[in-house]
Subunit: 304 residues, 2 copies
C-alpha cells in the first residue's frame, strides 16, 4: 500500500482560468496579472492563465489578450509554462500572435453537457477542435486536452458506459495532445470509478500523460486523486484557494484547492515544487479582490 | 487497486458525544434525545450518546444520566448499540445502574495532551482506566477504547515514534477492549502515516478490531479512511453533520461528517446500513438547535 509513489508530481494551476471564470465578480486585468505572477513566485511551473472564449458568454475572460500582453512584459515565461484555453481557430490565431506556447482544448463525454456549454454535440465539437489542434502543432504550440464529465454530467448523471470517454480520448491522442486532463466536472467520481476510468484508457495513452482535474463538490476529490496517484497518474490540476465554486450547486465546492493538493503530496514526502505559504498569499490576494473567503476548510485551518 | 473491499462497514456515530461536547451552545436534553432517536431511525447501529465527565469541565454533557434515562424509555436499544464515554469508576457505577451495555474509555499517545485534557500523564491515565475496564468486564459491559493523538498532538505535533501508540494499544488489548479506535485528534494524519500506524499494530490486534476516528481539519480524513479501508479496517467513526468543529483551530473542520463516510462507502457499493437522507434529517434537526450550518461542504452540495 502506497509503497511505490513517485518522488514528485506535476501540478497544473487553473485558478486564473477555470477558477475566475466561475466567479461572479470580474477581477480587473492588473489584479489578474499580479495574481498570476504571485502564483509563479510560489513555484508553480504550469499555469493556465486565461481563455479566448466569447465575452458575451464568459465576461470574466474578456481581457484574455491584455492578460497575456501584460505577462509578456514580465519574466514569468522564463520559469513557468503558461497556457490558455482555445475554443476555435480565431482564438488560436490571437494566442499564436501573442507568443503563446501551449494551448488547452476541450470537449466532454456528454452530448447534453456539450450542447448546453458550447451548443454542439461531442462529435461536432471534435470537428471544430481538429483543425485547431492541427494548426497549433504546425505552429509548434503544445496542446493539452480536457475531457469534461468523465465521471458524470450535471444533466445526464453518471455515464452509462465508458465508450464515449474512450472515443474522445483516442481522438485527442491521435490528433497529438501531449496530455489528457480527465475532468470530474461536478465531483461525481469515487475511487472505484477512478480505477475503472484509468483501466479503460490503459491501451489508449500512457498513464504519465494523463492528468486528473477533480472537483470537490462531494468531498471526494483528494480520495480520487490518491487513487490515481497509486495507479501511476502524476499530474493533477488545482485551483488556488479553491477558486471557482460550483455553478451547479450553490454553496458547494468546485475545483479542488491547489493548496490541498500540495499539502496531500508534500505531507507524504512527494515534491510539488510549490511553497504552500506563498501559494496561499496568491490565493488570499485574489480572494480579497473577489471579496470572498476560500471555500476550502483546509485553508481555514492551515496556519503555515 | 480497490479490488478486495468489504461488502459492508461498521459506522460508529459519535455526534451526540464528541460532536456536541465541542459545540459552544448546550442542546437541551429532550432535543438531544430526539436527535439520538433520529440517528437510530437512519439505520445507524452504534451510537455513542453521552459521557460521564466533570460538568464543570464539559458542561455540554451535564445531563448524561437524563439522556440515558430518557432513551431507556424508548425502543432504541432493541436496534442500536448505545455507548457512553466513561473516565472513572464513579462514572461506570452510574452507567451500569442505568443499564448501559457498552462503554468507551480513552487515553492518548501524548503526555502533553493527556495533561491538558485530564491532568494526568498517559501512564497515570492507564492506571485510572485499568480498574474501570476490569469492573466493566465483570459487569458484562463491553469496552471500546479510544487512543487520541495517534497521528499528532495539538501541543507536541507529530509523534517522534510509534512506541507510545504500541504501548497504549497493547495495554487496551490486554485489558480486554473489544475494539480500538485510533483517533486523529487534530487531523494531522496522511495516508502514508495510516499505513505506518496500521503496520505498527500488526502483531497487537486484528485489523477488524480496529476503528479509525479521523478528523477532517486538513481535509485528509476521507483519503486516510480510504487507505485504512484498503488495508482491512472496516469500522469508522463519524459525527453526523460534521458536528463538533475543532477546538484548536477556529473555523476548521473537526470530526469527519458521518454523511461523508456513508457517501464514500455507498458510492463504491459498500453497505453502511444507513439511509443518508434520514441521517441528514437528524443532523439538520440538531444543527438548527445549535443555530449553525454544517461545516461540511459535502452537505451543502448534497441534494439527496
Amino acid at each position: 500500500m502506497l509503497k511505490n509513489l513517485p518522488n514528485e508530481v506535476k501540478i497544473v494551476e487553473v485558478g486564473p482560468r477555470d477558477g475566475l471564470q466561475n466567479e461572479k465578480m470580474i477581477v480587473p486585468t492588473e489584479d489578474k496579472v499580479k495574481y498570476i505572477l504571485l502564483l509563479g513566485d510560489s513555484g508553480l511551473k504550469n499555469i493556465e492563465v486565461t481563455s479566448f472564449v466569447r465575452p458575451d458568454r464568459i465576461p470574466q475572460m474578456t481581457d484574455a489578450k491584455e492578460v497575456i500582453e501584460s505577462l509578456n512584459k514580465t519574466n514569468i515565461k522564463n520559469n513557468v509554462n503558461l497556457s490558455c484555453l482555445i475554443p476555435n481557430l480565431k482564438g488560436l490565431e490571437i494566442a499564436s500572435k501573442l507568443g503563446v506556447k501551449e494551448i488547452a482544448v476541450f470537449s466532454s463525454t456528454s452530448d447534453a453537457f456539450n450542447k448546453k456549454n458550447i451548443n454542439s454535440t461531442v462529435l461536432e465539437s471534435l470537428n471544430i477542435i481538429q483543425p485547431v489542434m492541427k494548426e497549433a502543432l504546425k505552429l509548434d504550440i503544445r496542446v493539452r486536452a480536457y475531457i469534461s464529465t468523465v465521471f458524470g454530467c450535471p444533466y445526464e448523471g453518471k455515464p452509462k458506459s465508458l465508450d464515449s470517454l474512450k472515443r474522445v480520448a483516442d481522438f485527442f491522442v491521435k490528433e497529438g495532445a501531449y496530455e489528457l486532463s480527465l475532468s470530474d466536472t461536478v465531483g461525481h467520481g469515487n475511487p472505484k470509478e477512478v480505477v475503472s476510468v484509468l483501466e479503460c484508457l490503459e491501451g489508449s495513452i500512457e498513464r504519465k500523460r494523463l492528468a486528473m482535474h477533480m472537483h470537490d463538490t462531494r468531498g471526494l476529490a483528494l480520495s480520487n486523486i490518491l487513487t490515481g496517484l497509486e495507479m501511476g497518474v502524476s499530474t493533477f490540476d488545482g485551483s488556488s484557494g479553491g477558486l471557482g465554486g460550483c455553478p451547479y450547486a450553490k454553496g458547494a465546492s468546485g475545483n479542488c484547492a491547489t493548496e490541498e493538493l500540495v499539502y496531500l503530496f508534500e505531507s507524504m514526502g512527494i515534491s510539488t515544487g510549490v511553497d504552500i505559504n506563498k501559494l496561499k498569499e496568491a490565493s488570499s490576494f485574489v480572494l480579497e479582490k473577489l471579496e470572498r473567503k476560500s471555500p476550502s476548510k483546509f485553508l481555514q485551518a492551515y496556519k503555515g
